[in-house]
Amino acid sequence: MRIRPSPGEAARIGVVAAAALVLALLPFGMSNYHVGLGARVAVYFIAILGLNILTGYTGQISIGHGAFMAIGGYTTAIMSHDHGTNLILTLPLAFAIAFACGLLVGIPALRFSGVYLALVTFALAVSVPQLALKFSKFSGGSNGIRTQTAPSNSWLYGASWSCAALAFLCAWLLLRGRIGRAFRAVRDSELAAASSGVALPIYKTLAFGISAGYAGVAGSFFVLVTAGFAQPNEFGIILSLQLLIGAAVAGLGSLWGVLVGAVFIGLLPEISASVPLVGSSHGQDVVFGLIVIAIMLLLPNGVAGLFRLVESRVKTAIESDPKTS
């Protein structure tokens, strides 16, 4: 079990606070379009945070978080479309439904690990959009379903980042406490955790539920930034793969890189479209694919790993510098 050194933690809180301040001030200097992109980054931020809780902290791989996003997204769209529910009120509902679905998936997932779990969750990601097609009376089918109101980009930015901040705070509190210690114990050695009294099934399933709940809220915002329009094509397998890429870029088992991971998958397709030579539409994929591979080769522990590296370098530099000591 690892306990973080508190001076490092203090420094990190400072970094997070600074990032939060920048995020809070950013929309004032940006065009409406870029504010919309910023809200999109918040969507990925929340989803990656959730995926990280599962994969990074309890070691259960999921390639199916797009499915939970679909569940959350459709909750918001259907509640608003059919019942005129206030959009903000649909968020806790999306969390609750996705959380319940997460628990349901988490129970059979107890029997699988590693590659098998990856494939089972993959199957989930592929199947959920199919269900939306099948039950089209309920979900609008291929022509989609729309919320009654489509909020503005600045509303979306404020709401999604507030929610993201709340989600981050909750995750941080959760993971540094008793539950977080249990999660990490499960990840590091299931046998050791079980023998020291951690109830494996409960904690593994709980992690699935929380993680899915996060993805559900992210899905709600995902639909809202898509003009309140939910449609099966939006939740294709590529969405789940993007989340996994984002989580890996951020660095698994650490919360400090999540913002970078979210910015990476949220903005890179945008940026790579303007790369010269291959910058036309299909070049986008070439650049995106290349960068994903390059990052994994160069930063196997993601941005969080890079942060740790820099931190320890700085620490050794300070310690070896006679003037400061």
Binding site: L21, R40, S142, S154, G158, S162, A165, F229, Q231, N233
Partner: protein, 425 residues
């Protein structure tokens, strides 16, 4: 250090007030700026020398077989630009890839409107992408015109969405034509239908039943397929086993080809086969024939001029010249009769025509007015005689079609028969 409104995500009043204040400031500032500039400003995207437009298309992904459409449109605009443009203005056409995914279409539409500041969104492809963006575009009074999809939303909802128009005949209207044809020519047939399991396929299927009228009892089986199905063999076998002897396919091009090939492969020889015009591209039929399908006698409809059987039409000659000069990459498929190219030319012609009608100083309102009062048979790329017509009551630009039948096997072509049918709706 973190502002209150960020932490208390639940209580939005604080944030809302802040944003309201902000919005208020912005409005005042904007008013001041526009007051300072004085003279009436042209609509966004219009300068003395250019008209900026854009559209979203599936250049990648499942629907990427349509990518020749925007390429052809761009070629036509380039041709117009080299011949004086529209009242001296050159068309600057931006093509963006949404991979047929509405969650990509929405930010791309915002990018076109707010970053690229286009005058209009022209020719964007797909029903779901269109539905995902029409709220935003109409709210911002940005024309969303000549949508490349045959759904009837654009035609029927133009009171509520006055900035949106389609172009091609709508799908159920087309399948009513098939229904009526079957009812009178094959009154005792046992009809088997293969359709895509989404609104596209279901609307086609519904239209067929309407067209068949009392004869809809002749439908012995209807099987759907999903885009994730690896083949349609199971469905074809089911249709065959129910004794169907007329085969109707409402599918996307790849599945239509597969369906035709599979029918031959399982030894099913229906006495008539009908396919929708989206799939009735000569290129696809040639491929199906080469893979073993029995293509002779297949029936469909078209509303476009044929690059292969109508070579002497001025429009086809012009299309050939434009392809040679502005889109040589399309040459091979054009010569093989890829109707998507003619589609792109025809839609682009309509836009240019409407812009000319909109006058020397075109506005968005003027463009919509022009598109709501089309009345011309001059589009050189549509089937000769077809009239593009809209009015205050009718927002379906093309409502006529001609039936076609394939002859000549693996090197054959479509032959039209009968008279122009219309209005199809």
């Amino acid at each position: 250090m973190i502002p209150d409104y960020l932490i208390h995500g639940g209580s939005m009043t604080m944030k809302r007030r802040l944003l309201a204040v902000l919005a208020g400031t912005a409005v005042v500032a904007a008013a001041a700026v526009s007051a300072a500039s004085g003279a009436p400003k042209a609509d966004p995207g219009i300068t003395a020398s250019t008209i900026k437009i854009g559209g979203t298309f599936p250049l990648t992904g499942v629907a990427s077989s349509y990518r020749t459409i925007p390429t052809a449109e761009k070629a036509y605009y380039d041709y117009v630009n080299d011949h004086g443009g529209i009242n001296g203005r050159k068309i600057d056409f931006t093509i963006l890839d949404d991979a047929y995914d509405p969650s990509k279409t929405v930010p791309l539409a915002q990018q076109l409107v707010e970053q690229a500041k286009v005058f209009a969104v022209v020719g964007s492809l797909g029903t779901a992408p269109g539905l995902a963006t029409w709220g935003y575009l109409n709210k911002n009074k940005v024309p969303q015109v000549l949508l490349a999809t045959g759904d009837s939303y654009w035609g029927f909802s133009f009171k509520k969405y006055p900035w949106t128009t389609g172009w091609q005949p709508d799908y159920p209207g087309e399948s009513k034509v098939y229904g009526r044809y079957l009812a009178s020519n094959f009154p005792t047939a046992k009809i088997g239908v293969l359709y895509q399991n989404d609104a596209y396929g279901k609307n086609y299927f519904a239209g067929l039943r309407v067209g068949l009228g009392a004869k809809k009892e002749n439908i012995v089986d209807a099987e759907s397929y999903d885009a994730t199905n690896p083949s349609v063999t199971q469905q074809i076998l089911a249709l065959k086993s129910k004794g169907a002897d007329v085969f109707v396919v409402f599918a996307l091009p790849p599945q239509t080809i597969t369906a035709l090939v599979t029918a031959a492969k399982v030894g099913w020889n229906p006495k008539a086969t009908l396919i929708n015009n989206v799939s009735a591209n000569r290129v696809y039929l040639l491929a199906a024939a080469a893979a073993g399908a029995n293509v002779d006698g297949i029936i469909s409809t078209t509303y476009l001029a044929s690059a292969t059987t109508q070579k002497n039409l001025p429009g086809v000659k012009l299309a050939g010249q434009i392809v040679d000069q502005y889109a040589p990459a399309l040459k091979t498929s054009f010569d093989r009769g890829d109707s998507n190219i003619m589609y792109g030319f025809g839609a682009a012609w309509t836009f240019v025509n409407a812009m000319q009608s909109a006058g020397k100083n075109p506005t968005r309102v003027g463009l919509m007015k022009a598109l709501h009062s089309l009345n011309t048979t001059k589009d050189p790329f549509v089937y000769p005689g077809i009239k593009l017509q809209t009015s205050a009551k009718d927002n379906f630009p093309i409502e006529q079609e001609i039936m076609i039948k394939w002859a000549g096997g693996a090197t054959g072509d479509w032959q039209s028969f009968g008279k122009l049918i219309g209005p199809v709706r």
